[in-house]
Amino acid sequence: MRAQHGEDLSPSFHPVRWIFRENPVFRLLLGLCPALGATSTAMNGFAMGAATAFVLLCTNATFSLVKRLVPRTVGIAVFLVIAAAYVSIADMTLKTFAPSIHRALGIFIPLIVVNCLILVGGGAPASACSGGGAPGAFSPSFADAFGMGLGFLLSLVLIGAVRQIGSAYLPVFGMPPGAFLTLGLLLAAAGRSRNGKNEPSGKR
C-alpha cells in the first residue's frame, strides 16, 4: 500500500473526487477485504459501507477534537481505541436491530478497526502503517472523510449489486470465488489504480 497523497489532495470540499477519480476501492485499493467479504448482496454491501462510513466519520471527528492533547508516541493507539469504540457501537447496534445483516457481515464488522480506509481516511498518524507504506502527512478534513466514506459505500453497493444480479444467472457470483472474480473484473474495468503499485512490487 503506497498511497501517495500529496499536493493534489487539497483540503477543499471535493467529495465527488472520492467517488470517481480517487475511489477508495477501485483506485486506491483500500479496504478490499470487506469489499470482497461483505458484498454478497447489494444490501450487505450497503450495510457494510454505511457502518464503515459511520466509523470513519465519527473517528475522524473525535480524533481531530482530541488530537492536540495526544502525544505523538501514542497517537496511533489512541486513534485505534477511538475507532474500536465506534466499531463496537456499530456492532452492537447492528446486532440488536438487524441481526440477519449482522450475521451476514460477520467478522468484517469488528475488522473495520483495521480497515486501511479508516487508518488513511481517519488521519491516523504515519506510524500506523508498520511497513506497507505510510499515508504520510495527509490530514483529511471532515469533508474528505465524508467523501471517502461515501465513495466506499457506493463501491460496496456496486459490487454487491453486480454479485447479486450475477448470481441470479451464474451462482458462482454469490460465492467466494465470485467475489474475487467480480472485484478483479471491476478493477480491470476501472482502469489503472491511482496508487501506482498495480503490479508486483518486487521486481528483482
Binding site: S88, F180, G184
Partner: protein, 185 residues
C-alpha cells in the same frame, strides 16, 4: 481436531475463502522468496496474537462479564503483539529484521486480528485455538506462496496494463478460492 486444522488451511482459508488480508501488499507480495519469508513472520505473529487474545478473553473479559470490550481489547492486543514481536526480532535476529521481508503490509493485520476474533467467536478451547490458528496461518502462507508464484511468472505477461497486477491477482485468487472450496480431504 484434524478436520479443524485442514479446514482452516483449505475450505476456510483466511485469504482465499474468508477474504482476510486481501490488499495489494499481500496479493502482490513481490516474489516467492519474499512470500516464504513473510509466511514465517505471519505464522509467528498469528500464533502469539491468537494465544494472547484467547488468554485475555478467557481469564479477564469473561470473568468480568465484559464481552462488549472484546473488539477494543483485541485491537490493543494486536498492537502489543506486533510491536513486541518486532522488538524481539530486532533484538534477537537483527539480520532477519533488517531485511525488507520482515515488514508486513496492512492486509496482514486484518488477517491476524481476524484469526483471533474467529477463535473467540467459535468458542474454541485452548488446544483447538492453537490448532485453528496454526492451520489458518499455514493456509494464509500457502495462499500467499501460490499467488506469489503465479504473479512472479505473470510479471512479464503481455496485454493491457489494465489487467496487470491486482486484477490478475484477484482472478487467480478466484480460481484458487474455487479450488480450495473443493479440497476436503
Amino acid at each position: 481436531m484434524f478436520s479443524v486444522f485442514l479446514s482452516a488451511i483449505f475450505v476456510n482459508n483466511l485469504l482465499l475463502r474468508q477474504f482476510l488480508g486481501v490488499c495489494p501488499g499481500t496479493m502482490l507480495c513481490g516474489g516467492v522468496r519474499k512470500a516464504i519469508a513473510s509466511g514465517g513472520v505471519i505464522f509467528c505473529i498469528m500464533m502469539c496474537n491468537s494465544t494472547a487474545s484467547w488468554l485475555f478473553d478467557r481469564y479477564v473479559l469473561l470473568p468480568l462479564n465484559a464481552e462488549h470490550l472484546q473488539i477494543l481489547f483485541s485491537v490493543l492486543i494486536l498492537l502489543t503483539t506486533t510491536w513486541s514481536v518486532e522488538v524481539l526480532a530486532a533484538k534477537l535476529l537483527p539480520s532477519v529484521y533488517a531485511g525488507e521481508h520482515f515488514r508486513l503490509s496492512y492486509g496482514t493485520h486484518c488477517a491476524v486480528l481476524g484469526v483471533a476474533l474467529l477463535n473467540l467467536r467459535k468458542g474454541y478451547g485452548f488446544a483447538e485455538m492453537l490448532v485453528h490458528s496454526s492451520g489458518a496461518a499455514i493456509g494464509f502462507s500457502l495462499a500467499l506462496l501460490l499467488l506469489a508464484g503465479i504473479m512472479e511468472r505473470l510479471r512479464f505477461a503481455p496485454g493491457s496494463e489494465r489487467l496487470k497486477g491486482m486484477p490478475q491477482a484477484l482472478v487467480a485468487a478466484a480460481v484458487l478460492s474455487a479450488v480450495f472450496h473443493f479440497v476436503v480431504l
